[in-house]
Symmetry: C2
Subunit: 769 residues, 2 copies
C-alpha cells in the first residue's frame, strides 16, 4: 500500500489538505468520464507544479509510428494510441493582479476534493491566500453529462473573504496538446479552424493520419451572487487557443461564479462539415437546461446505473468505497451503447497502454457488463471482435499463417495489432483463446445462441485454424506441442508448452467443432453461408481434432500438478513469502532476465485456466494447484488479485479471499503497484466485481441455471448485489447468518443455493439459512 | 549470391560500368581505412543519387539515447555508436556551367573503379558527357596514409576531350553531418571553430556528450599538365562548411588536376587546444612529401603488411581475391597499435552495430592478429578488456549481481553495455566465456603467461564469479542449470541450458581455478596483490567448483548428441535443404516467432563449442554433432561459414569446406546476405583467415607446438600462408601433392605435420609428401 490519503467514505472519494506530491495520483483517481469522453482531474486554473494533463474522446486515436531498438519482421508499423485531445476545462483566475496557482501560492487551506460517485460529479474547494495577504474562497464543481454526452459543465466560484477584488477570469479552449507517451514527438492534431460567436468558441481539429474531425468548444456565463453579471468577454485568439477574458470587481464576501459548458463533438457521430452547427445544438440544450438542471439530470442518470449495478457492503467502509469506486469507473469508461467502442485498460484516466482493446475485455469485463446491463451490451462487445475478424486474419498472415487463420491482436483500436514487443505481440497468443471463451461465456450466461450462427462461428473457425497451424507435432513426444509462447504470466517469455495456452487451444478446437456440428444440424442456412465463406473441409476439421486430441500438457508426477510450462521445476523455487520485501515489486527492482528466470508469477496463469474451466477440475485439484502456484505469485498485474480472491473464496480461505479483495478493489485508491499517477486500472475493476459476485457470492451459471454458494468475510456485517439474468433481476443479500434472494421479474426462478434448489417468486424475499 | 559485378582479380577489387543501383554496395566494398580513420567509397564530386555517406574516426563515438518500445530495468541508457564525422573528401566540379553529377549526367562511359589492395589506394575513372555534348575524362585516386595516419590524399584530374573548358573546382570540408541510424535525430556534433589560413581550412568540432575534440581539415593545390597552376582559391564559409573555389580555363586535352590533403586530428592523440597547430604539422609533412611520395610510402607500408599477412591461392582467382579482400579490410580496420581501440563489426564501412566491440574480437579476430602481427597486438586486445573490468562489474551490478561479478557487455565502446534488446543484452551471456577463452588462447599460442598474473586473473575471477551466481541449482535435476539465455545462435531466445553456454561456463570456472592455483604457487607477489583486491575465499572457490562439477548438459540418447538447449527435439526438424528457397533468408522473410520456434540455426552454436574445445571431443563426436546440426544451419550470420568450413575440412569434406570458404571469403563481394550496402562484415573476415589456416592448413597449437594437417580443395593448384609463432615466421605452401614449410627465424623449430614430428631449420625449405 503506497497511498493512504483518500478518506474512507461510502459514496465519495475524498481528499483533504493540499499536497503537491499527490496531485498526479489524484488526477487519476478523481478522473471523470461519461463513456463518450473523459478527463483526468486536472485543475481548471493555472497550476505550475507537476501535473499530467489528459482529456480524451472515446474512439479518437492516432497510429503512432512504432519505436523499437531493432526491427523484427511482423512488427506493426504503428501503435494506435488514445489521443490527448484539445482541452476545454481551463479557467485562469487573476485576483488583484495575482494569478491563482496552488503550486506557487502563499498559503492554501481547507483544500478538499470530492468525487461524488453516487451523483457523478467532481468538486474542489479551498481557501487561498494571496501574497499580499488577501484571502479568497474557491469552489469548483464539474461533471460530464450522461444525458448529453458531448457536454461537460463547470461551476467555478470565487469569494473574496477579507478584501475587495478585481477579478480577471479567463476561460479558454486549448488545442496545443501533446501526448506524454508520444514515440517521436509527432504532431497529432491539425487545427483547421478557430471560431468565436457571441459567448461560444470553437476549435476544429483533425487527427493526423486517422483524420478524425473534432470540435472542442466552450460557452460561458458569469454571475455575482447567483445573478447573471451580464459580462461580455474580450476575446483573445492565437493559432491554437481561444480565451475569453472577463473583468469584474467584486466586493468582500460577494460570490463571483462562472458557468462553463464545454466538450467535444466529432465526425464519429456527425457529418464532419456540420460540426459547429451540431455543437451549437448541443450547447443550446445545455445552456437551456442550465448548470443546475443538468446536474440534477446527472444525479438521476447515475441513480439509474446504481440501481442495477450497486454492491453494498455493511460494516467495512473501505471495502464499500473500493467496490463502488470500481463500479463507478467502469461505468464512466464504457456504457455499452456504441459497438465501435471497447474498454481500454486505463479508460480515460491516462495514456499508458495506448490502444483500447486487450484480452481484458473478454477475460474480465464481459461478466460485469452481462450482469449489470442489458445483454445487448455484452453482445456489442462480441460483435466488436466479429467486425475485426478480417483484420485478425490479416494479422495472422503478417506472421506467416494462411488459409483463414485468425490471430486477434494483443492491443488494438481498429483490429490491427499495435503492440511491438515480439514476446507479447507474436507470442502472447492465448488472447485468441479468450475471444472464443467469451463467446462460450456469453451463451452460457444469456442463453442467447443467436450470436454464434450469425457471427461467432466464423470467429471460432478462424481461431481453431490458428491453433491447428500454431501447434507443432513433436515426434520426440509423439504429441502436439506449442512452442515459443508467453502465457498470461508475462514474467515468462518464449516458453514451450505453457499449460494454460495448450489447454485453451485444445478447448477452442473442441468448442468450435461442437458448434460446427450444432449449426450444421440446427441452422442449415447459416451453415451453408458460413461454409461457403470459410471453405472448411471435413478433412481440415479432423486435422484440428487430431491436434486437440493429442495435445501435450506438462505435468509433474512429484507435485501432482500441471506445470506452468516446460522446465518450470528447474527454477529456484523460493516462495514470495521468503523473498526480501525490499525486492518488491520485482518489476521495478529487478532486471528482466532475473525476473524471467525466477519462479515468480505476475498474474494467474495455470490458475487462470482453473478459473475459466473450473468445472473441468475437482476442488481438490484446484486446491493443489492453488497451493502450488499462489505462493510464487507476486500479483504485479492488476488482473491478478481478483482471480485469486474468487478461488480462495471457493476454497473457503476467507481471510485470504478478503485480503485479495481489498487489494483488487483498492488497487488504485491505495496505489498497491506504485503507478496510479499514470492512470487507473479500469479493466481489472470488472475483476473486482467478479471477486464479490463470483467469489463471495459464489455465483455460477450451470445448465442454464443460476447457482450460488454465498460466503462472507468475517469483517463484514453483510453485502448485497444484483444481477440481470436473462432479463430478470435477482438481488442477493448476504449476512453473516443467512442469504436473502429477491426477484424483480415476471416469472418464478429456480436457482441452486449451496447445491439445493430454491424457488424465487417475483417480489418475494427468500431466505436461505 | 546477390551481386556479381565485381571483376575477379588477384590483387584488386574492380567495378566496370556505372550502375546507380550498385553505388551503395560499392561504397561499402571499396571503403578505405588506415586503422585511425576510414571512409566509405563516396564520390568526391556531387552525387544526387542514392548514397550512404560515411567517414569515421577511430574511437570517436556518441552515446545515443536508447530507443525501445517498453523500457526494462537494466537497459543501458545509451547506445554508443560510431559517429559519422565531418567530411573532408568533397570536391565539386563544374565544367562550362554544368555541375558534374554521375546520377544526372547525359552519359557516362568507361566508368571504372579499382581498390588496389596490394598498394592501398582507391581509384575511379570515367568519361563524362555534358548535356551540351562536351566530353571530359575524370580520374580520381585517393588513399588514407598508413605512414601519416591523420592524413588522406586525393588526386582528382579532369581532361576536356573535345572542348575547351571553364572549370570551377570546389574542394570543401563539411561539418553538417548526421548518422543515418540516429535514434532521436540528436545533434551529434558541435562545431566550435572554422578557420582558413592560406590554402588550409580547418573545422573544429566536438562530439556532444562525449566531448571528443576533433579537427577536420584540408589543403589543396592545382596543376595543369602536372605544372603547379599557382591558383589561389576564393573562400566561402558557412556555419559548418568551408569551400575553396578555384576557377580556371583549360584547353582541350590539357589535364587539370587538384591534389587535396585532408583528414582528422583529435584530442585522442593531441592536446585539445593545439589541434590546429598539430594539424599544420601533419599537413606540412604531407605537402612536403607531396602526393606521389606519399603514395609511394603507402605502397611500401602495404608491402610490409602483405609480406606477413598475405595468403596466396593458385588457380582460383575468385578465392584469391576473396581472401585478400578479407585480409586487406582487417588491416584497414585495426592495426593493433592503440590499446584503446578495438575491432568494430563494420569497421569504418557503415554505421550498423554502432558500438565497436563485440565478442567477435575474442572469438574470431584474435587468432588472425596473433598470427599476422607481433604478439603485442593480441595482448593489446586482451588489455582492452582488463581496462574495462570495472565497467563489467558495474554492468553486472545493474542486472542484480554483486560481490565482484563481471559481465562483459555485448556491445561497447567504453566498457559500458550499450545494446538494448533484453534477449541479447541480458541473456546472450556466453560472451563472457569468449573473453576467458581468448586469454587461454593467447597463452596457448604465444606462450606468454605474463598477462594472466598481471591482468588476466582478475578478469577470470570476475567471470567465474558470474557463472557461479548465474547458475541455478535445480533440485528437480540435482544439477546446476543455466536458465534464460541466448546462445551464439540468436535465432533462439530465452532458452534453458544452452549446451554451449553451460559448457563454456563450466570451462571458465575450471580454467580460473587452475590459474589461481598456478599463480598462488608460482607468482606469490601477484597472488597477494590480486587476492587483496578481489577478496576471494577458498570457500567461494569451492562453491564455484561445485557449480562446475555438477553442471547439467542436455543430451539426447536417441541421437547421441548434446542438445543445443532443453526442448530442441520438440521442434519440427525439417532440414534447410527441405526448406523452400523462397523462404530464405528467414531473417528477412519470417516473423520472429516463426524463426524462434523453427529449428534453424543462425550460426555455429553447439558446434562453436566443438570449435573452441576441439580437443575435448573425438573426431567421431564432432562428426555426429556436425551431421546433426549443420543441416539446420542457415548461416545467416557472417560468423557462421568460417567455423563450419574449418570443421568440414577436419572431417575431410573438402567440397563442403570449399563452399563454406567461398561463402565466408566472398560474403560481401557477392553479398550473400543481401546487406552489403550497410557496410562490410569486418570481424568475420578474421574467420575467413582461420578457415584457410586452421581449416585447410589444419594448424593448431598443442603442447606449445605448432601442428598442421594440410589439405587442399581440388579447385586449387596451391595456397600459402605465413604465421608468426613465438617470434619465428613459418611459411606454409600447400600443393596438391605436398606441403612445403619455410622458416624465417633463428632457431630450428619442431612442428607436427599429420602427427609426425618435422624439424624446420631457418631458411631451409622442408617438404612433406
Amino acid at each position: 500500500m503506497n497511498l493512504d490519503y483518500i478518506i474512507p467514505n461510502e459514496w465519495s472519494i475524498i481528499e483533504e489538505g493540499f499536497n503537491p506530491d499527490n496531485v498526479k495520483a489524484s488526477e487519476s483517481i478523481f478522473s471523470i468520464g461519461n463513456g463518450a469522453m473523459g478527463q483526468r482531474a486536472n485543475f481548471e486554473e493555472h497550476y505550475s507544479g507537476p501535473t499530467f494533463q489528459g482529456s480524451y474522446i472515446a474512439g479518437v486515436y492516432y497510429p503512432d509510428k512504432t519505436r523499437v531498438g531493432w526491427w523484427k519482421n511482423g512488427y506493426p508499423e504503428y501503435f494506435a494510441k488514445v489521443l490527448n485531445a484539445p482541452s476545454w476545462i481551463g479557467i485562469d483566475v487573476n485576483v488583484n493582479g495575482e494569478q491563482i496557482d496552488l503550486y506557487s501560492c502563499k498559503k492554501v487551506e481547507n483544500f478538499r476534493r470530492e468525487l461524488n460517485m453516487k451523483e457523478g460529479w467532481l468538486s474542489r474547494s479551498f481557501k487561498y491566500t494571496l501574497h499580499n495577504g488577501g484571502e479568497i474562497q474557491v469552489n469548483a464543481k464539474r461533471f460530464l453529462s450522461l444525458e448529453l454526452d458531448e457536454i461537460g459543465a463547470i461551476e467555478y466560484s470565487i469569494t473574496p473573504l477579507n478584501i475587495d477584488a478585481d477579478l480577471v477570469i479567463t476561460p479558454y479552449i486549448d488545442g496545443a496538446i501533446t501526448n506524454e507517451d508520444s514515440n517521436w514527438d509527432d504532431k497529432f492534431w491539425n487545427i483547421s479552424n478557430l471560431e468565436v460567436e457571441n459567448d461560444q468558441a470553437f476549435i476544429e481539429a483533425q487527427t493526423m493520419k486517422t483524420n478524425f474531425h473534432t470540435c472542442t468548444f466552450m460557452q460561458s456565463e458569469c454571475f455575482v451572487n447567483d445573478q447573471n453579471a451580464g459580462l461580455r468577454p474580450q476575446v483573445i485568439r492565437t493559432d491554437n487557443k481561444i480565451s475569453f477574458i472577463y473583468k469584474i470587481s467584486v466586493k468582500q464576501q460577494e460570490v463571483f461564479s462562472i458557468h462553463k459548458f464545454g466538450g467535444y463533438t466529432s465526425d464519429r457521430n456527425h457529418d464532419k462539415d456540420a460540426l459547429i452547427a451540431e455543437t451549437k445544438v448541443a450547447l443550446a440544450k445545455a445552456t437551456q437546461a442550465g448548470f443546475s438542471q443538468l446536474l440534477s439530470d446527472q444525479k438521476k442518470s447515475w441513480a439509474k446505473i446504481w440501481d442495477m449495478a450497486d454492491i453494498t457492503i455493511d460494516g467495512d467502509v473501505k471495502a464499500q468505497q473500493g467496490i463502488r469506486f470500481n463500479i463507478f469507473h467502469l461505468n464512466q469508461t464504457y456504457l455499452g451503447t456504441d459497438p465501435k467502442l471497447n474498454i481500454g485498460p486505463k479508460g480515460f484516466t491516462g495514456e499508458k497502454y495506448g490502444g483500447s482493446t486487450y484480452w481484458d475485455t473478454e477475460a474480465y469485463c464481459i461478466p460485469f457488463y452481462m450482469s449489470t446491463k442489458d445483454q445487448s451490451v455484452a453482445r456489442n462487445l462480441l460483435t466488436y471482435r466479429y467486425k475485426h475478424l478480417e483484420k485478425a486474419i490479416e494479422n495472422a498472415e503478417k506472421l506467416g499463417f494462411s488459409n483463414g487463420v485468425a490471430l486477434y491482436p494483443m492491443v488494438t483500436m481498429n483490429g490491427e495489432e499495435c503492440h511491438n514487443e515480439w514476446e507479447i505481440t507474436f507470442e502472447e497468443i492465448h488472447r485468441n483463446g479468450a475471444i472464443a471463451f467469451a463467446i462460450y461465456n456469453y451463451h452460457r450466461y444469456t442463453g442467447d445462441y443467436s450470436y454464434i450462427p450469425e457471427m461467432g462461428l466464423e470467429v471460432l473457425i478462424g481461431i481453431a485454424r490458428f491453433w491447428h497451424q500454431r501447434a507443432t507435432y513433436s515426434t520426440y513426444k509423439n504429441k502436439y506441442v506449442i512452442l515459443g509462447v508467453t502465457g498470461p504470466n508475462e514474467y515468462e517469455n518464449n516458453v514451450n508448452n505453457n499449460w494454460y495456452t495448450n489447454y485453451i487451444a485444445q478447448w477452442c478446437i473442441n468448442y468450435t467443432v461442437e458448434n460446427i456440428e450444432k449449426i450444421e444440424s440446427e441452422f442449415t442456412t447459416d451453415f451453408a453461408r458460413i461454409m461457403n465463406k470459410v471453405k472448411l473441409s471435413k478433412a481440415e476439421i479432423s486435422e484440428w481434432k487430431s491436434v486437440a486430441d493429442n495435445m501435450y500438457f506438462p505435468y509433474s508426477e512429484d507435485h501432482n500438478v500441471f506445470l506452468q510450462q516446460d522446465g518450470f521445476l528447474d527454477k529456484e523455487l523460493i516462495t514470495v513469502a521468503d523473498l526480501d520485501k525490499s525486492q518488491r515489486p520485482i518489476n521495478q527492482k529487478w532486471s528482466w532476465d532475473r525476473i524471467l528466470r525466477s519462479p515468480y508469477i505476475k498474474q494467474a496463469d495455470t490458475l487462470q485456466g482453473f478459473y475459466f474451466f473450473e468445472d473441468h477440475f475437482s476442488t481438490e485439484e484446484l486446491e493443489r494447484h492453488f497451493d502450488f502456484y499462489e505462493p510464487f505469485t507476486v500479483h504485479e498485474s492488476s488482473l491478478s488479485p481478483c482471480v485469486h480472491s474468487i478461488q480462495a473464496a471457493k476454497l473457503d480461505r476467507m481471510e485470504q479471499a478478503y485480503t485479495f479483495y481489498l487489494r483488487t478493489s483498492r488497487l488504485d485508491l491505495d496505489d498497491y503497484n506504485h503507478e496510479v499517477h499514470e492512470g487507473l486500472h479500469i479493466t481489472s475493476m470488472a475483476g473486482t466485481w467478479m471477486s464479490i459476485v463470483e467469489g463471495f457470492g459464489g455465483m455460477r451459471v450451470r445448465n442454464n441455471q443460476l447457482t450460488f454458494e454465498p460466503k462472507i468475510p468475517e469483517q463484514w456485517d453483510g453485502y448485497s448485489f444484483k444481477v440481470n439474468f436473462r432479463n430478470q433481476i435477482i438481488k442477493v443479500i448476504v449476512n453473516q447468518n443467512e442469504t436473502h434472494f429477491e426477484l424483480e421479474g415476471d416469472e418464478d426462478l429456480q436457482i441452486l443455493v449451496n447445491e439445493e434448489e430454491v424457488n424465487i417468486s417475483p417480489n418475494h424475499l427468500v431466505t436461505v439459512g
